[in-house]
Amino acid sequence: MSLEKEQKVVDLIKVSFEDAEAEIQRERRVKVKVAPNRVFPLVAYLKGNGFKHFVAISAVDWIRDGEIELVYHLWNYDEKVHVMIKTRVPRDGGSMPTLKPLFNQAETYERDIHEFFGVHFEGNEKLDREFILEDWDGPPPMRKDFDTRLFSAEFYDQEDLESEALRLKIQPYKGHLKK
């Protein structure tokens, strides 16, 4: 199976972004790791080189490293290659520049991630508007240290919280302390 077009994309990235770690994952999939401040220029560069379809932004909470990983997915309709641009921001006070000037729909994904992971996106004007969660003032719920069962036991005012916790066999996530 030839991976020519994938190699072309890797070369294309390496020409202009020497600090980026680009590798081929499999046919039609390329992964790139860059520093947070290089994401905007890289996406702009790829957009100018045929990556016209902005697929999505995914966020992953790597609580053991104290970081949140953002994965920007781009697709090229002509070459038929998918690029995942990965970058990491700190969990506390992490911030990224918005991609709204490049792709309008990036705004929607940024609002989603802001609400569920607590990452700030500089320049996104709609960030403070409620998106999916209504009247939510708790911690960002998709983070690993947010325990859904403990929250509902507390929120719904259980009289005997401990026995309820015992009954439900729940434990708050402590995986990040093991290391």
């Binding site: 016209k52 038929k80 705004e107 929607t108 999916i132």
Partner: protein
């Protein structure tokens, strides 16, 4: 502004959230002058059930009954995507027969989703015969689904490693009969919907978007093909056995609601052809490669992005494993995340209030996949 216009005041309208049509709980806040829309704001969130969070707390196999609920009208792409992602991470082989069966299930799901689409958009325009016919005819397909999987809407049929059961005896003949029936009805649908002067008047040239704008703003699937762009995940990023199947990708050039409905209508015929090919060419053999004890099964660390062509556009799953017995993270990229927020907010500006619901239908927005 002359004196006559001054009496037309600005209003705020709230469309939804109680099922604006049959698309699911979703709300749009409109600012309108008279009945011309100045500003639209999409407000999702009424169907948020925290699936992504729940998936991190359950074993790999236990997520199978849950993922299908992410898109109600077209649930099977979710099951197939989740299974494909997990298989790629785990390096699990899928028997060839299972891959053909999955294609069949996906296309059956596409036909029934397109039938409810055609019924929905006609109903939103006041043509109430179409929804009755479509719902009735869709039910014949749901009968086949019930026979195959035991369920009508949420099938929970595709699992990592293959499919849950083989085809029941005589199923192929009965499916062929159902397909023949739906194919025969297509002429009636065309005359009922597309020949209807009211439908034409309300949809031609309404809710248009520019092809370049559509690509840059993340429009995918039938909505993009209605702008004349031949993009289909089944061909561009082939999965399962789609590269061995012959089918056409219809395109239209109107970029409006009429074209979007027409694309779906033509795709029904294509899907029927695909299912027939599957029935003709499906190999015999095993249908499930069991991954081992579901409670102990570990998936090697890694991440993967998989996508399929659903009836609404590109559906994608980004799955991350840290080598444990549960997924570390599953991100669902639904087609409505773009169609339902940014695209509709832009398309509605300048339209009339009466066109809000048809435009929503024409984009085939599925609120549960925004909320997840």
């Amino acid at each position: 502004m002359n004196g006559k216009n001054e009496i037309i005041r600005e209003f705020e309208y709230f469309i939804g959230p109680q099922h604006p049509g049959i698309t699911g709980n979703f709300s749009i806040k409109l600012k309108a002058k008279g009945d011309v829309i100045l500003e639209a704001e999409a407000r999702p969130g009424y169907l948020h059930r925290g699936f992504e969070k729940l998936m991190e707390q359950r074993h790999w196999i236990k997520n199978v009954p849950m993922v299908c609920r992410i898109c109600v009208p077209d649930p099977d792409p979710n099951e197939v995507l989740y299974a494909m992602g997990v298989e790629e991470l785990a390096g699990l082989e899928v028997p060839e027969r299972a891959q053909w069966i999955r294609v069949m299930v996906l296309e059956m799901s596409r036909i029934q989703a397109h039938l409810s689409y055609l019924g929905g958009i006609s109903g939103a325009l006041g043509l109430y015969t179409a929804p009755q016919w479509m719902t009735g005819d869709r039910d014949y397909l749901l009968d086949r689904f019930e026979e195959l999987t035991g369920a009508r809407v949420y099938h929970i049929y595709t699992t990592p490693g293959g499919v849950r059961r083989d085809l029941p005896e005589g199923f192929e003949d009965r499916l062929r009969e159902t397909l023949d029936y739906i194919e025969k009805r297509l002429t009636d649908y065309y005359r009922l919907i597309f020949d209807n002067p009211v439908f034409q008047k309300r949809t031609i040239g309404v809710g248009t978007m520019d092809p370049d704008w559509a690509i840059e703003n993340g429009v995918t699937g039938p909505n993009l093909r209605a702008c004349g762009i031949k993009a289909d995940v089944r061909i561009d990023d082939p999965y399962l056995v789609y590269d061995q199947i012959e089918f056409e990708v219809p395109t239209e050039t109107g970029c409006d609601m009429f074209s979007r409905a027409m694309i779906r209508f033509q795709e029904i015929q294509q899907s029927i052809n695909i299912v027939r090919q599957v029935l003709d060419r499906m190999p015999k053999g095993p249908f499930l490669n069991k991954p081992g004890n579901p409670l102990m099964w570990r998936v090697p660390a890694g991440d993967v992005y998989v996508r399929v062509e659903s009836s609404k556009g590109e559906f994608g799953y980004y799955i991350v494993s840290d080598g444990g017995v549960k997924p570390y993270r599953v991100h669902v990229r639904g087609p409505s995340m773009t169609h339902g927020i940014h695209v509709i907010e832009t398309l509605l500006v300048g339209q009339r209030v009466a066109d809000v619901s048809p435009i929503m239908f024409s984009l085939d927005i599925c609120p549960p996949d925004i909320d997840r």
